[in-house]
Symmetry: C2
Subunit: 738 residues, 2 copies
């Protein structure tokens, strides 16, 4: 015991002498401090210093730290509990960032319950809870999702069950405008999160959107302009600290513009090192996160209780580490040249005193016992080469690597940006300290570059990250270096694995369609692809109700070709020709059945008959279930004229078309169904076999024996996905490996 005491004496002799002075002078000097922390500090600053003290004194101190610890962990636990219970019980889709699902939606894949009012509510409350709980997650992803939810709800006139049925709202009730609104919402979310209007637009462009039009560019720009004006006005209103921490730093969150960036040719070396390391670490992070998420999936599948427990244990672990680790750090004496107050207590900002004596600060507490935003601001701080000890930064980096891996998959709204920025800034600053003597670049800028490199290494964005970092840090002279770092990190990362969002998309099993077809797709024709599918289910222009009901009940198809037999084409003499009239949607067929728009005899209807029965708005609806439709036996024998409800201009491809080109068409034009037409022109006829159910195999055989039909098959998104094709044509996998 005496040995330990003397050892401690050597290492913390300054602390001890300071301590005694403090005890006397403190009450007057720090009237604003929080009672708990104040007492901690005045009684003793270093837990190790307690070893030699009296036992009763020790116990009282232990008690103080324990109370603080319990408050800290307890409140964080409660906040996490609120966030998690909401997500688990009311809106499972609100967990996670939501960006992959939005990305998939804009690609044409709708996740159910993604943009509802419940999801919005849970996301807002849950995100507040999770961020306040000090978990290692950001509010960026959730804000993007919140923006998209609001956009979607506004566009459709309110929540699903309480929609306002204003006439003009129908103009937005189509896929394209819904997509545009959600894109605008997403860019507004990024803008609100980072106060980066241009970065928001570019994020939506580079990462989220699949189809981009010039009109969409200025629409998103317009929405971020509104966001930034509202933000600016709110910051002005909150100028005098009326709104807590909101608006700190004005429009620029992590301002590093006070440092004049000086670099010469030799500084290219550290820049390249940051880029390469960022790429390697980023892809390593992607790899490990993938593994962790797979384990979490297994746990989460076991039930709601497991989900909740997982979230809560992560929260407790985070709090324990955040409270406990700062005790490992040595106290640093305040330098009078620091521009800020030092040390600080009971408020946000740099130089937390925590367990240190007056005139000293605990650099690790400065980084851990604060909001994530402030942590970034602290670690980005420039012109402060001696503020952080390398060991503290190392602990910080290691902790956030672990937290960044285990926090993302829990059932609370969570963003990926901030965890990666925290990790990256830690490694960047560490690198800055190591390289200090060999470079002109400030440590704070090293932290910025480290964050940028890790982001690029994990998310693989370039332009949008560059602009977001420019708008976050307000240092235009840093731009050339940032660009190089981003490009190197992205290139290095791409050589290992796909981007984190692609990994999550794949994990979630969303049928996302990539921009570029796989090379082996050129060796397969759509004809071959259609041949292995069940026979196409089609209708004649005037169809029996029974056939329609059968087809809808026995298949899950969303589109059916409509053909007319025995037609005389206007230009020919082939009076036995079959006409491909178009494609009819399941939703419209269900509308017909629900409204019982049946005909007693086989006849073509007039336009006014259709207009009388169906409104514009009804046909725009895409809902309805065949199980809800009741058709009597007599009605089954009646007919429906499908012509007026058929889309007569379907996109088609010849059966000889390669799958690669078909996929380009499918994605570029944004299709749901694509008809495959024969490359042969012969006499064809339609037979009743086309809707004999459930004997599909027979129908297929019959088809093969017959003449050329005007439709060979129908392709959907699922048919064109690489892994679905490879499941049927395994030999292509081999050619891929070659």
């Amino acid at each position: 015991m005496s040995e330990e005491s003397s050892m401690r004496k050597d290492s913390t002799s300054i602390n001890d002498t300071m301590e005694e002075e403090v005890e006397e002078r403190d009450p007057e000097r720090n009237p604003l401090n929080e009672p708990l922390l104040k007492r901690n500090r005045t009684l003793s600053s270093n837990p190790l210093a307690l070893v030699g003290a009296k036992v009763s004194y020790i116990e009282s101190l232990d008690y103080e730290y324990l109370t603080g610890f319990l408050y800290f962990v307890g409140i964080n636990f409660l906040l996490t509990f609120v966030a998690a219970i909401l997500c688990v019980c009311f809106a499972p889709t609100a967990a996670g960032p939501g960006i992959p699902e939005i990305k998939a939606y804009l690609n044409g894949v709708d996740t159910p319950n993604m943009y509802g009012a419940t999801t919005l509510f849970v996301k807002i409350i849950g995100s507040i809870g999770a961020v306040s709980a000090g978990l290692d997650l950001g509010k960026e992803g959730p804000l993007v999702h919140i923006g998209s939810c609001i956009a979607s709800l506004l566009g459709q006139g309110g929540p699903d069950n309480y929609r306002i049925k204003w006439q003009w709202l129908r103009y937005f009730n189509n896929d394209r405008d819904r997509r545009d609104l959600i894109t605008c919402g997403a860019s507004s979310g990024v803008c609100a999160a980072f106060r980066a209007p241009v970065g928001g637009v570019l994020f939506a462009l580079e990462e989220v959107a699949t189809w981009w039009r010039s009109a969409l560019l200025w629409r998103t720009f317009c929405s971020t302009a509104v966001v930034v004006v509202v933000l600016r006005a709110t910051i002005e209103l909150c100028h005098k600290g009326k709104c807590g921490l909101f608006g700190e730093g004005g429009l620029i969150m992590f301002d590093v513009s006070d440092v004049t960036v000086r670099y010469n040719v030799m500084d290219i070396i550290p820049v390249v090192i940051i880029g390469v390391l960022g790429g390697v670490l980023g892809s390593l992070y992607n790899y490990l996160l993938h593994k962790v998420l797979r384990v979490y999936n297994l746990i989460n599948q076991k039930g709601k209780m497991y989900k909740l427990l997982l979230s809560l244990s992560v929260a407790v672990f985070t709090s324990v580490c955040q409270y406990g680790l700062p005790f490992l750090a040595k106290c640093t004496p305040c330098d009078p040249s620091f521009p800020d107050v030092c040390p600080t207590n009971g408020r946000s900002g740099n130089f937390k005193q925590f367990n240190c004596p007056d005139g000293h600060y605990n650099d690790l507490a400065t980084l851990l016992l604060t909001t994530n935003d402030d942590a970034v601001r602290n670690i980005f701080s420039t012109n402060t080469p001696l503020e952080y000890q390398p060991s503290s930064i190392l602990i910080f980096f290691a902790l956030y690597c672990i937290l960044g891996l285990i926090t993302f998959g829990i059932a609370v709204p969570s963003g990926l940006f901030l965890p990666i920025i925290l990790m990256g800034s830690g490694y960047g600053r560490l690198l800055g300290i190591l390289m200090g003597p060999h470079t002109n670049i400030d440590q704070g800028l090293f932290a910025v570059l480290g964050a940028a490199s890790l982001m690029a290494g994990s998310m693989r964005m370039t332009v949008s990250l560059c602009v977001i970092f420019l708008e976050l840090t307000n240092n235009l002279l840093l731009l050339p270096i940032t660009m190089i770092v981003l490009l190197i990190a992205k290139t290095v990362g791409d050589s290992f694995n796909p981007s984190i969002y692609e990994i999550i998309l794949h994990l979630k099993g969303l049928p996302f369609m990539d921009a570029n077809p796989e090379p082996w797709m050129r060796n397969l024709t759509v004809g071959e692809l259609v041949d292995v599918k069940p026979a196409v289910v089609s209708f004649t222009g005037i169809e029996k109700v029974a056939n329609i009901v059968n087809a809808l009940r026995h298949t899950t198809h969303n589109g059916f070709p409509v053909m007319d037999g025995g037609v005389v084409p206007p230009t020919g003499v082939a009076n036995e020709a079959t006409e491909l009239h178009g494609i009819i949607l399941r939703a419209h067929l269900i509308q017909v059945l629900k409204k019982k728009w049946f005909l007693k005899e086989k006849r073509r209807t007039e336009e006014w008959e259709v207009r009388e029965k169906f409104t514009w708005v009804e046909l725009a609806e895409r809902e309805g279930n065949i199980e809800d439709v009741a058709v009597t036996k007599e009605e089954m024998e009646m007919f429906v004229d499908l012509h007026p409800l058929t889309n007569t201009t379907p996109f088609t491809v010849l059966e000889s078309m390669s799958v690669a080109k078909a996929m380009v068409l499918f994605r570029q034009v944004g299709l749901r169904h694509m008809l495959v037409v024969p490359k042969y022109q012969g006499s064809g006829e339609i037979k009743d076999y086309l809707y004999i159910f459930p004997e599909i195999q027979d129908a297929k055989d019959t088809r093969d024996k017959n003449r050329v039909s005007p439709v060979v098959g129908i392709l959907t998104r699922q048919d064109l996905l690489p892994y679905n094709i490879l499941a049927v044509f395994p030999h292509l996998e081999k050619s891929k490996r070659k």
Copy 2:
């Protein structure tokens, strides 16, 4: 005379007293001044002051000003002459900015001789000449064109006649990579012009490119990163004034970051006014420039001499105005609080002394007798509310409005950015002076916002302009206001006329394909469109040489459908079916004829026969003229197997498809030919009528009488252009007007 003298005395009394003092002290004080200007200044600073002096003295002074004037005009005349003669005689495509042509190229329209070595050379020398001549034009457009030329030349391995035939270069020898390279070149050009790497990428995205892929985003980003690194390194090398004016202002050209942007809610009013005025003025500029360009087109068509004379007269007019107008401005006394030297002589910068006495400067000379870049820098200068008199700014604005209209169309390389920035900054600063008492916003920022609003009002870009202005001015806090101004100006402008580049594209008659189809296109099917065209010219799979030669000679088509008659489809019993094999390109047919790959009998060839005859590189070539091909009479009776050279996966549409959707497909996928296939399926057969020439009308009649052919027609870009369709279907024009 005595009256004039006394009037002058009143207005310039300070000048006169200053003058006398100066005359004695001058030689020591200004040893660095240029001889000519120095003498002007020492003898007398204000020409009006000469009126009352002795006649011989007047003559000597007049002589000085005259010499100065003659030097100024003469040198500018010579420089313009060099630029114009090069453009007129060697590369007419080098005149103008080149951006519309690049935009058209990326849309699929190739302008001949646009990316050659001669054009590049003329563009570089011409642009240097034109900019040095003090003409009211920028180097941005030319730099974009230069970037694209270099990219194109690098991609194809050098100039057309001296191409390096390296093997790996063939990888770039396809349309898509050429487009990508040219896009990268264009963004590098903007980056080099404005030192705005992100702005360059966004300019390429928003204004230039038609098809945008995620890969292209980081490729352009990579190229601008290289540009900015090279720029940065060069600026560093030139740091000590070794390279003249290059590198002034470092990486930020028009830095206004020294002013702290303060604004409150009421400042929204001037911002909205700037935006609306910018939109109105921008569209007015577009309207007037359109008229001027049409007049210039008439003049330029008369011959090379007229072109040259037009350019030279504009140059002389510009020089005369620039030298003469400053005499109208009053001299302003230097304020000791000015941060720069005042007055200045014989170097670039603010506060030109020109004809003023010591301690005074001529504010109009400061703006006119300088480079365009410096003029912008001067007028953007912040915290200098009294530097410019309103009358001087008004003269400046009026002059540059006139010059901006008359300079653009002359036969020298010219950009539109800088003229519009000059005009806009003038009107912005004028507005700032008028609104001075009512707003917190600095006059320099008013100038910046005015320039941005006029740019948006004329060019209708938003995001890219916003980023370019951010990178030009380095003031992130200005961003929210800039965004509002840009959006308002664009919206106001759009309600009057299309953007300036669209107007130029239309004037040049380039078949540019818009992103969105016209609404009336939905009421027309491609079947109707094909019906009014001459009958489709098609070949059978194994075709007679004579038919091919005939078809190539009598039509200008670039693609021909290939069909096989009497085929037995694998799935049917229709042994008289006709197969649509695909489409063959004119270039490949000419290759066949040139290489005389003829068969004595009708037979299918083997794969090795084709490989032996044609290489990969040869088939990628798109050149060749049917007139260069000589075929003997015997050869005419031989056959060619077209199957191996046919593209078997053409994009097709049903004849019932609407033109609007066909156009979307055509543009989104980036096609050159689109086959129209019948919606009917009947027995079809191929007849020899398909290539009876020149009796096309007969062929059409025959076709109509026959059965369904697997191809109804073929559509190209020209067929889908709105004005071409309206020429044939004038009734659609009426429905458009409704």
